[in-house]
Symmetry: C2
Subunit: 78 residues, 2 copies
Amino acid sequence: MSELIHQFGRNLRYFRLRAGMSQEELAQKAGLHRTYVGSVERGERNISLINIARLAGALDIEPEELLRRVTGSNEGSL
Amino acid sequence: MSELIHQFGRNLRYFRLRAGMSQEELAQKAGLHRTYVGSVERGERNISLINIARLAGALDIEPEELLRRVTGSNEGSL
């Protein structure tokens, strides 16, 4: 079950870096706290749909992209 | 923000009916309560990743499929 949480965190980090944003910039744009974004990226949060929508909106991607098992995040660093 | 919650509910109902399962059968297989599954389908719940993973596993689909904006659920009834 927690595998999806970790996958989500890796995907979030991948798309954030691809957008050239810091955790703080993403957090501000999404209306969330920087430490919250950090904990989501580390797979420590059972994030819910509303915050998934906020992060996807801030990254200009579809929410479903953050749940995919295979993204560039599986290829290592950018 | 709540649009994703309603989309999720429509998608869940679509995939559950496609699998020929009742809300009670899906709930039992996912380890959730029937009334919870019903409220998710009605777009009343800000469901989180762990329960998304449980429902996707019970339906034998990828979690991301439950977040898609366009599914058969947009085509009306089955």
